[in-house]
Symmetry: C2
Subunit: 293 residues, 2 copies
């Protein structure tokens, strides 16, 4: 199957499953609407699809990984809602639509983020209750670390702290590894755990995830300079406006592109071991740096 | 043992365990400080102590319940940090100290809250990894529901929505049941699950928790009118300033006090079944409405 078709098919699968996870909560004002507004804002569903890919690579069952895949998308979505708040990045647009606080007010945007983070754990723990397999428990625990202060939240802290401070390349790398890399790596590992992959495979997938997470961030910085509001659905150049250090501001555009390319090549070398079974993940690695959104 | 001595002893146990759960995260700016600032601000540790009490009631092991007890305290603390934000209740003081956003700024207060919520699940999932017993899994899943949109967060949504709207008694009750009651009930149930309590006991404890949760909120509203900044460590009368409906504004002071008393009596009737083993929980029910903070 071509990557494009795979994405189209799995995006529907993931979105349909997510719809079953958020009730209408009729006795609670505004929250269902606010949660769905951001969750259904039409992302690529890259993270859940990564979980489905490694689960298939190790011959697991897609049904089993789906709750965890959707949980990661909820965590990713909450992080965007909180990141966009006036006290954080202060962004008015996300994916071509006004950000959550612009629609629902700051208070409800904070609560919608909290609700999505919490819901992610509700969903995973429900799946663990149904079948307390080692793979499911390990996946939930791994995701919890990846989204926490040692992972994504830690990256947001570094990002916020250095908004008006000079950050060197070491700090920049650490920030991205945590803020973006952790939630790229987590679905890959979660899918592998749930499929019952061997320890060697987990180590390999972790390394692969590390590399494509970095490539993803470099290409994000490039897109922030080269993209347009039309394609990205958000104001470009916002990093520069916020005085943020980026790969592009540190290395320049050409060197950043080279770095992205060589990082993806390293990732592809790792996945080569799996021969044909790894073709989709290889294709995906190219997509990471060739995408225009 | 007297309730006062029990509280003093278990408070130390809980706080010492919490200290082991938050690292210094030396490569992440400010976050450890912000998490600890609110977590170690000297609360009564009522919620973790409730978990320890029911765990003991059903002859469970305190060591087993401790991670879950501390996780609930982290969830409670994060909810206070986010509740105090300018976009929510806009409070400058909590427990006699400036609120998180006053010290660390709004961005870091949001992140410290997120980090504590996430950490709570990290801690519980680590405990589940170590020993995936049915009781632990059920406790974690129950806590996740109680803190989510059907529980505490849902209560915050109702609270925020009705800040400048007239709320009737039905809405007020629902708000309190979710915002405060859910996280009073959850530790009681978690302790019972982990101790392996029978289904009948769980139902009884749930009812008991429902009642003391309500009594707790009524007495909170009374304290908001009668307490002083000195004792409560926060500005009193803040509900009235925020135009909030409370039990006192709806029923008056005397009827609210009567209601609190009769609710506690109902709770004590339930726990009477356990004879001497339930004495501490009975004493605690009195404390709930007799406390001055």
């Amino acid at each position: 199957m071509k990557l494009q078709d795979y994405f189209a098919e799995k995006k529907v699968l993931v979105e349909n499953h997510m719809k079953t996870l958020i009730d209408s909560y009729e006795d609670i004002p505004k929250i269902s609407e606010a949660m769905n507004y951001s969750l259904m804002a039409g992302g690529k569903r890259l993270r859940p699809i990564l979980a489905l890919m490694t689960c298939e690579l190790f011959e697991g069952n897609a049904e089993d990984v789906l709750p965890f895949a959707c949980a990661i998308e909820m965590i990713h979505t909450y992080s965007l809602i909180h990141d966009d708040l006036p006290a954080m990045d202060n962004d008015d647009y996300r994916r071509g639509k006004p950000t959550s606080h612009k629609i629902f007010g700051e208070g409800f945007a904070i609560l919608a983020g909290d609700a999505l983070l919490n819901k992610a754990f509700e969903v995973m723990l429900e799946a663990v209750m149904k079948n307390p397999s080692e793979g499911r428990i390990k996946a939930a625990a791994y995701i919890s670390k990846a989204s926490g202060v040692e992972g994504m939240i830690g990256g947001q802290c570094i990002d916020l702290y250095y908004e008006n401070r000079e950050a060197d390349i070491e700090i920049l790398n650490k920030m991205h590894e945590k803020k973006t890399g952790a939630l790229i790596k987590a679905p890959l590992i979660a899918g592998a755990f749930i499929a019952g992959a061997a320890e060697d495979d987990i180590i390999r997938i972790e390394e692969f995830g590390q590399l494509i997470g970095m490539a993803f961030q470099i290409s994000d910085d490039i897109l922030d300079v080269e993209g347009s509001l039309d394609k990205l659905g958000k104001n470009t150049g916002s990093d520069a406006n916020n005085n943020k250090s980026t790969f592009v501001s540190l290395y320049g555009l050409d060197k950043s592109k080279e770095l992205a390319k060589s990082t993806v090549e390293q990732a592809q070398n790792i996945i080569s071991l799996y021969g044909n079974r790894g073709l989709l993940l290889k294709e995906l690695s190219n997509y990471i740096i060739e995408r225009d959104v």
